[in-house]
Amino acid sequence: MAPRSRLSQTQAAWLLLAPFLATYALFLVYPFCRGIWISLHDWNLLAVAFNPDAKEFVGLRNYERVMWGKNITWSLFNAPLLQGLGLLALVLSALLHRLGRLSRLNAIVFGVVSLLLVFFPGFYPDEGGRWYDRRFWPTVANTLVFVAFTVPGVTISALLLAAALNRETRAMGILRTLFFLSQVLSVTVVTLIWQIMFSPRQGLIANITKTFGGTPINWLTDQQFAMAAIVIATIWWSIGIAMILFLAGLQDISKDIYEAAALDNARGWKAFWYITLPNLTRTISVVVILQIILHFQVFGQSHLMTQGGPNDSTQVLVRYIYQTGFRDSELGRASAMAVFLFLIMGSFSIIQFIIGRERD
């Protein structure tokens, strides 16, 4: 048989890689670099659309206009609660490492996070000073508050559920399905359901409250409750993945340990506390970091349920980027914020990657 033109291994490999590399370069690498490029310009969406030269190179001005202000100073006592907490965590991580309860890597990660907690809240505009963008840091703070409530909420409830559901029976399978079901819904279905659930006039929660003689809460329009409402909807929505990851982690704990512990009368809560938890630390950190990355990018819940309100109390970072870019047409400033978002997400991805590596 006459050999047809044969590709060498290298040629065949590049041929197979070409479709992916082309899309990857065009729709991910190039936009990423272009995003940084845009963030260095005064770039108005509409002006540049009509005249491509209507942009001006401004260097790092956009970053300054977003994150900095006039007469900004730093003090250790600006936000005593947060900064004190940071200091405490810093001491704690050093101490725990000394006592051998925390691996060096975890101690470093923990320490860096607590240092940031001491550092960032310390900035404030001094007399006569002001932030150039008064909404940016409060928006970041809202996002962090959202993460700070959602992540522990999801993690703890998913962990308890997984521990309870960790049996291969039909009934348990059905229960798992019920808890997981909400996870496959889209964000717009979730917000549709919960907008009406929370409605003070038509909502299920209000109807039940009224039956018991209570006054319905204006969940989505009351500044005290709006963030809570979004957190509740999000926990309801996203418990599934965490539960599944925990169930997978539980499978890896040998049954023998439990049997041995049962001989020592450690069952139920005791077994959970002394066996399940210590054997699950790796999975817990994976789930926590995963959730942080996922929920830091929250957009739909805030955009659809509360429109960032009332009074900006549920305004989150991605929604602010979206508004700055597409309502105010200020692509330069929006891109600077997007780069900021990427830096935060990227550092968590690196931590995630390191933890994943450690396992192998």
Binding site: L26, L185, T188, T211, G356
Partner: protein, 277 residues
């Protein structure tokens, strides 16, 4: 099974039912007449039982309004994206897992960095890029960006790496070309992994909100997820609560059915998708 097991099942049934209530309520409201809902949403057992019953909301969804059209858009985008992602991921994944070529390590590191870039950090430059091409308000604008996400490549690469070498070597000795080995030997073996990736991609495509919101400004190119967002802000006045809820049910039906049939794959897909970004 002992008694404590049955207590556990009963004890867990209560939170499981509570977990189901919001979804159940949506379904129940979608089967009640709009006139009744305008008055009260708690006719029978807080509205959890659809009495008085009507299927009118679903009938009207299909006789007027854009929901069926949006539904078709979602099908086109989700199927198109799934096929596209499967194609680029299996080919690239195979090459990275089983073949040797210069700059392989560099390439892998470049792809790994791509995993760290969230969609939310590049949607602005992507918007300007597609605007320059004049591509917005089209199906390919909704499909193409996801094909660049390297997670599928890594998923397929891990799978291909786990296949024993000798299958391939036997074929190589017989003088079969690389592309033929890929097509006739490897792809049939990769079916379970492809299934997982397909479901992951389909779910993502169906539920994606931010990029369609930015890219599709004409209502003819809305996906059902985006369309549902556009009618829910003024649901009570213009559309009728029952009708909007019916749209919500229709929008969820494909993913819920997919989940119930392919539960094992869905769980696996979401675990992989979750733990890798």
């Amino acid at each position: 099974m002992n008694r404590s097991y049955y207590w556990l099942v009963i004890g867990l049934s209560i939170p499981a039912f509570l977990w189901l209530v919001p979804t159940l309520w949506m379904v129940s409201l979608s089967f009640q007449p709009n006139e009744v809902l305008a008055r009260t949403t708690s006719s029978t057992l807080f509205g959890l039982i659809p009495l008085p019953f009507t299927a009118e909301n679903y009938a009207s969804l299909f006789s007027f309004g854009q929901t069926p059209w949006w539904f078709m858009n979602s099908i086109i985008v989700a199927v198109g994206m799934t096929l596209g992602v499967l194609f680029v991921s299996t080919t690239a994944g195979y090459a990275l897992a089983r073949m040797d070529f210069p700059f392989k390590r560099t390439l892998m590191i470049i792809c790994l960095i791509g995993l760290m870039v969230p969609e939310q950090a590049v949607f602005i430059p992507l918007y300007t890029l597609f605007a320059d091409f004049g591509w917005h308000n089209s199906y390919h604008a909704l499909i193409l960006p996801r094909m660049a996400v390297p997670i599928g490549v890594f998923l397929m690469m891990q799978f291909f790496k786990a296949i024993p070498q000798d299958i391939e070597e036997a074929a190589r000795l017989d003088g079969v070309t690389w592309l033929r080995i890929f097509w006739y030997v490897m792809l049939p073996l990769a079916r379970p992994a492809m299934m997982t990736l397909a479901i992951l991609t389909f779910l993502y495509a169906w539920n994606d909100y931010l990029w369609p919101l930015v890219s599709a400004q004409q209502r003819e190119y809305f996906t059902i997820t985006l369309g549902l967002a556009s009618i829910q802000s003024n649901f009570a006045q213009s559309e009728g609560l029952g009708r909007v809820m019916a749209s919500g049910v229709i929008a969820s039906l494909p993913v819920v059915i997919l989940f119930l049939i392919f539960q094992r794959y869905v769980v696996q897909a979401m675990t992989v998708g979750g733990s890798k970004g």
